[in-house]
Symmetry: C2
Subunit: 278 residues, 2 copies
């Protein structure tokens, strides 16, 4: 693992790191914030999954999570959103919503993506092992959050690993990718044409098929231009109500899809996670 940068912030250390990933067969870059802590102690880990087009850098620059993580004693890990580099398969038209920057946090089964688009394995197996080896992380206390495509990732990985992640939350998540254009395009390309294979990667379908977690927190701006076509939080609300999952869905008046929205509610999400990571 190579250290690309470290900077002191809010009494802790914001680092950016690169490593050769066996899951993706590429170099992968990620950021880790380590809050101030007593020597020898270990700290809970919050995973933050980013949205379409993002790298680790967007939330690292604009997420405004460090003050709350320093106060609450949380490690904050921000991975990339896809494999990258020469020779990595991409959208044939270079579109922003598939291929590079758009891995959708699943292991692809379709060529030419299956070889390298293995973001589920990367996020749930390879990167946790690396974090456990290099940082003062208590891997018995993990939680997961994300934005948009990363909200989809947090919900689906959280629902499929209920013993791993003690808290799951999202900002403006894609809750039912099988039912919306972004998801249908991505799942068709990564998983093939048969929607039956999509259900294990769709939060609403997972809940319909029996996945259970105690609670979810979701913030959604009502001025988000993707709200009605791509995000559709009512589908999650309906599924959670039917399944008895305690969903706190907060529709935030006036907020859009940007990091101005995310940063506004970041500290509240981190407090919600910290309460469940104690």
């Amino acid at each position: 693992m190579d250290t690309l940068s470290t900077n002191m912030a809010f009494g802790g250390t914001q680092g950016v790191y690169r490593h050769a990933s066996s899951a993706t067969g590429t170099d992968m870059t990620f950021s880790v914030y380590i809050p101030p802590h007593a020597e020898g102690t270990t700290l809970p880990v919050v995973w933050y999954l980013s949205g379409l087009t993002c790298t680790h850098a967007n939330v690292t620059d604009k997420g405004e999570y460090r003050a709350a993580c320093a106060e609450l004693g949380l490690i904050f890990v921000a991975p990339d959103t896809s494999p990258r580099g020469e020779g990595v398969a991409d959208d044939p038209d270079g579109a922003y919503d598939f291929g590079l920057g758009a891995g959708f946090y699943l292991d692809a089964t379709e060529p030419p993506f299956a070889a390298q688009y293995r973001m589920a394995s990367y996020i749930t197996a390879e990167l946790p092992a690396l974090v456990a080896a290099h940082f003062p992380a208590d891997m018995a206390r993990q939680s997961i959050m994300g934005h948009s495509m990363g909200g989809h990732g947090a919900l689906t990985l959280g629902l499929t690993h209920p013993d791993r992640y003690r808290a799951i939350s999202a900002f403006a998540p894609i809750v039912a990718p099988s039912q919306v254009p972004w998801g249908r395009k991505a799942f068709g390309g990564y998983l093939g044409a048969d929607p039956a294979a999509w259900r294990r990667h769709d939060a609403v379908a997972l809940i319909e098929d029996g996945a259970r977690v105690p609670a979810l927190l979701v913030d959604q701006g009502d001025a988000d231009k993707f709200l009605s076509e791509q995000l559709r939080p009512a589908l999650l609300a309906h599924a959670c109500a039917a399944a008895g999952i305690d969903l706190e869905l907060r529709i935030q008046p006036g907020y859009d899809h940007s990091y101005y929205f995310i940063s506004t509610f970041m500290a509240e999400h981190l407090r919600w996670h910290a309460a469940r990571l104690r």
Copy 2:
């Protein structure tokens, strides 16, 4: 004035605006954060001046000021650091520390810079009038802060307008530009070879020559790579001690010159300003 973007954040509005500046003869872009407030009320204005290479965007993205401004009821204005555009004179070698992105918050007197590098007039006259006309600003309550070259700007404009700015603070400021390489290059180019003309644009020289303000707050990281050659806060400490100016100079162990440093202490600076703007 054109509105380039507005986004809701922390209950208020982060905007980015562009206008044709008569001071610089160019289009100028700046950002303004308006915190939540009761209709019809006006709010104090904090000016933030950025460092070398920056535009309004750096602090707007990474400064983490909105939460504190929302809580304290402060308008936060972030101007650009120089005129920009086709035909604007620049460093002959395109260096980062002179010309574009490096206006040093003064009105140049030397050709070819004198025509457009009029950042002092822009920051203290033209832009305040625009802000007063378009936003719910109480122009009787202004304060100023900045980083590095912008810390120099905050100190020098603050010291030369003691009745205007009720609070003055800086992150890692250039305190004595006449005595350090960045400042000597810039002042030579903008003001000419005679150092006598530089003193009105040098915080330490201004204090030596009689400028007075009640108090200054300065944070400086001790891992800042520019500390000993370019910044030299001891020169400011010495001048303030001799002049009876209440300087709170805080050397912050482990912090560097980046926005990770600035964002860590931003809320404390804003609280210090708010106490003096009441």
